[in-house]
C-alpha cells in the first residue's frame, strides 16, 4: 500500500480520463431530493457532501435484473446460449463509502463460495472501487458496531479521505489502485504529513455483534420476534437498499419456443418468498420473515460464510416505511 495526496480538482480530471476510456462510472448524484448511485454522465452531477446514498452500489455488481441465458427450441432439442461475458464493461464505483466497499466481501462470498457465479465473478474482476471516507455520520450509521469503520479500506482499490478543504489522502491499496495511479501519475502529489484519523466521522459503537450472534443461536422461538415485527409491513425496501442482501428469483420470459432466463432481486420480507407449490408457507407470518432477515445477517452468514451479512450502513433504517430501526431492534433484542 502506498499513500499519496490528490486535490479535488484532480479527482475530476481522473474521472474524466476514466470516462474517456469508456469506463462506466457509478457515482453519487443528486436525483430529486435524494442522493443515489447512478452512471455518471456529467461531472457536474457528482456529489460528495452527502452522508449516505439511498441505494448501495450493489446494483453495479448484482443488478436488479439480468439475463442469465437464452433458450431456443430446435426440433426436439433445446439450445441454450450462455450469456456472453466478453462485452461486460470495465466499471468504476466512485464515492462508495467504506461500508459499501466492505460489503463486497460478503456479497462475493455468497456468489463465489462452492460454485463460482461466472457473471458476478467477471463483473467484479472488471470493477475498480474508489471509496471516499466518511467525514460525517447520522444516527442510522452503525458501521463500528459490525467491525467496519468510517475510514476502513477493505474492499476499496483506492481510498480517498479529505484532509483539508480540497486536499485528499489517497491510499492506493491494490493492483487496480496502482493502475489508477499509473493512468495519471501527474495528478497525485506526495504523501501528506497528516494522518486521516482526525478527519473521520465519529461513529459510536452501539452493540456488540458477537454477543448478538451468540444470542441469536438460541433465539429461534423467542417471543421477541412476534412483538417486535408488529409494525413490519412486509415489503422488500430494506433488502433492496442493503449492500449485502443477495437473494434472487429466477424467471423465464418468452414462449415455449424461445426466450430468456432472468435473475431478479427477491426479498425474504415478501410473503411469496418461501411459498411452496403445495400452498404451504413455512414462514407464514411477517415476524418469521423478520426473524429470517436478522438470523441470516447475524447468525447464518457468519456461521456458513465467515462473513457478517451487515456492514452498518443504516440504509434499511432510513428506507423503512414503518421505521423498523435496525440498531434499536438489535439493542432491544440483546436486552430481551
Amino acid at each position: 500500500m502506498q499513500k499519496r495526496s490528490i486535490r479535488r480538482a484532480q479527482i475530476n480530471v481522473l474521472l474524466e480520463k476514466l470516462l474517456s476510456l469508456h469506463q462506466v462510472i457509478y457515482a453519487p448524484q443528486k436525483l430529486g431530493n435524494q442522493v443515489d448511485f447512478a452512471p455518471l454522465r456529467d461531472l457536474q452531477d457528482l456529489t460528495l457532501d452527502h452522508i449516505q446514498t439511498v441505494r448501495s452500489a450493489k446494483a453495479a455488481l448484482f443488478p436488479p435484473v439480468e439475463e442469465l441465458l437464452r433458450y431456443q427450441r430446435a426440433g426436439v432439442e433445446t439450445e441454450l446460449q450462455d450469456r456472453d461475458l466478453t462485452n461486460l464493461a470495465e466499471q468504476v464505483l466512485f464515492g462508495t463509502r467504506p461500508c459499501d466497499a466492505a460489503a463486497i466481501a460478503p456479497l462475493s462470498a455468497v456468489f463465489t463460495t462452492d460454485d463460482q457465479d461466472a457473471i458476478f465473478a467477471r463483473r467484479l474482476e472488471r470493477t475498480t472501487v474508489i471509496s471516499v471516507s466518511c467525514e460525517r455520520s447520522d444516527g442510522d450509521c452503525f458501521c463500528t458496531s459490525v467491525g467496519v469503520g468510517p475510514g476502513d479500506s477493505r474492499g476499496s482499490d483506492l481510498l480517498l479521505t479529505r484532509l483539508q478543504d480540497d486536499e485528499y489522502l489517497a491510499e492506493i491499496l491494490t493492483a487496480k489502485g496502482e493502475a489508477l495511479l499509473q493512468l495519471a501519475p501527474e495528478l497525485f502529489g506526495p504523501e501528506p504529513a497528516e494522518s486521516k484519523e482526525a478527519h473521520l466521522a465519529k461513529v459510536q459503537k452501539r452493540f456488540d455483534w458477537e454477543a448478538l450472534h451468540d444470542k441469536l443461536a438460541g433465539a429461534f422461538d423467542h417471543p421477541f420476534w412476534l412483538r417486535t415485527a408488529l409494525a413490519c409491513l412486509g415489503c422488500g425496501a430494506c433488502a433492496y437498499v442493503c449492500p449485502v442482501c443477495s437473494c434472487f428469483d429466477i424467471q423465464d420470459e418468452g414462449s415455449q419456443k424461445k426466450g430468456r432466463r432472468l435473475r431478479s432481486w427477491d426479498s425474504c420480507g415478501l410473503a411469496l418468498f418461501t411459498l411452496h407449490a403445495s400452498g404451504h408457507n413455512p414462514r407464514s407470518i411477517q415476524s418469521q420473515r423478520w426473524r429470517q432477515r436478522m438470523m441470516h445477517k447475524f447468525s447464518y452468514m457468519p456461521d456458513q460464510l465467515q462473513q457478517l451479512g451487515c456492514v452498518g450502513c443504516g440504509r434499511c433504517s432510513r428506507a423503512c416505511p414503518a421505521d423498523m430501526n435496525l440498531i434499536e431492534q438489535v439493542e432491544n433484542f440483546l436486552f430481551a
Binding site: R55, P64, L230, A231, L233, E253, P321, D323
Partner: protein
C-alpha cells in the same frame, strides 16, 4: 396530544379495545406505528404532520388481529380507509373502534354511520403539493407525460413498499404473485414496472382514499401516489362516487347502469 392519550387510555381501561394502533416518535425524525396494549403506554401516542402512514393497513395483519379488537388513531385518510374496507366487506361493524382526529379534537367512533357522518363533515381535498403535481401532469402533452412516467417508473426496483403501505392492497395473493399464468412480469425491468404500477392504479380506481401512503413509503421517492390520486379524482368527476365516504357505496368500476355512457366504446 393529551386528549388523544386520554381517549386511548380510557378505551383500554374500559375494555372497548385491546390495542390502540397509533403513531409515536420514531428514530431520526421519522414517525413509527405503535401498538399500545396497556394504559400506561398511551403516553407514547402522538400526532403531527409527519404521521403519513395509513394505519388501517394493519387491520388485515394476522399478528395484529391476534392482539384483539383494535382502536385506530385516525386522521381522515385512515377513517376513509376503514369505511372503504367496510364497503368491500373486509371488516364488520364492531370489529374496531376509531379515535378520529380533527382540529386537535379526538372523537371516539364505533358505528360506521358515525364514521360516515364524521367524514361527510370533513373536507377531503388533496394536499396542495399533490394537487399541484397532478395539475402539472395534466398540462403535459401525452408525450411529455409518457417521458415523465417512463423516467420515474424505470427507477422502481419492485420492493412493493407501495403495496405494503396501502390499506386497500389487502389481497392475500396479489396479481403479481400469480404465476399460472404469469400476468405481470416479475423482474423490475421497464415493462415489468409499467405493468405492475398500471395494474395497481387500475385496481385502485374508485377505491383509493388518496392518503398518499404509497408514495411516502417509496424508498426511491417515486411519486406513485399521483397515479392513483389522479384516477380517483377522475372517477369522482365522471361517476360522482368517492372512495371511503360511505359503507354502502357503489363501486364505479364494478357496478353497471343502463344509462352509463358508452361513447368510449369504439
Amino acid at each position: 396530544m393529551e386528549a388523544l392519550q386520554k381517549s386511548a387510555r380510557e378505551a383500554l381501561e374500559n375494555h372497548k379495545a385491546k390495542v390502540i394502533i397509533g403513531y409515536s416518535e420514531g428514530s431520526g425524525g421519522r414517525m413509527r406505528p405503535i401498538f399500545v396494549q396497556s394504559p400506561a403506554e398511551a403516553e407514547k401516542l402522538t400526532w403531527n404532520d409527519r404521521c403519513t402512514q395509513n394505519l388501517a393497513v394493519y387491520i388485515a395483519k394476522p399478528e395484529v388481529q391476534k392482539l384483539g379488537k383494535p382502536a385506530l388513531v385516525a386522521p381522515l385518510p385512515v377513517l376513509r380507509a376503514v369505511l372503504q374496507l367496510a364497503s368491500e366487506n373486509q371488516i364488520k361493524e364492531g370489529d374496531l373502534l376509531v379515535l378520529a382526529l380533527s382540529d386537535g379534537r379526538v372523537t371516539e367512533l364505533s358505528q360506521f354511520s358515525e364514521m360516515e357522518e364524521f367524514v361527510a363533515k370533513t373536507p377531503t381535498h388533496l394536499a396542495s403539493k399533490d394537487q399541484e403535481a397532478i395539475e402539472r401532469l395534466e398540462k403535459m402533452t401525452p408525450q411529455e407525460r409518457w417521458q415523465y412516467w417512463q423516467s420515474e417508473l424505470t427507477r422502481c426496483f419492485k420492493c412493493y413498499a407501495c403495496r405494503a403501505a396501502c390499506p386497500m392492497c389487502y389481497c392475500s395473493r396479489c396479481t403479481v404473485e400469480c404465476n399460472q399464468p404469469q400476468w405481470i412480469p416479475v423482474p423490475a425491468h421497464p415493462l415489468g414496472n409499467w405493468e405492475w404500477h398500471l395494474m395497481r392504479a387500475m385496481h385502485l380506481a374508485g377505491r383509493c382514499v388518496s392518503c398518499g401512503a404509497c408514495g411516502d413509503a417509496c424508498p426511491l421517492d417515486i411519486p406513485i401516489h399521483l397515479l392513483t390520486m389522479k384516477v380517483e379524482a377522475d372517477i369522482h368527476r365522471e361517476f360522482g362516487s368517492q372512495a371511503g365516504m360511505k359503507v354502502q357505496s357503489e363501486h364505479a368500476l364494478s357496478s353497471f347502469k343502463v344509462q352509463d355512457k358508452e361513447n368510449f366504446i369504439i
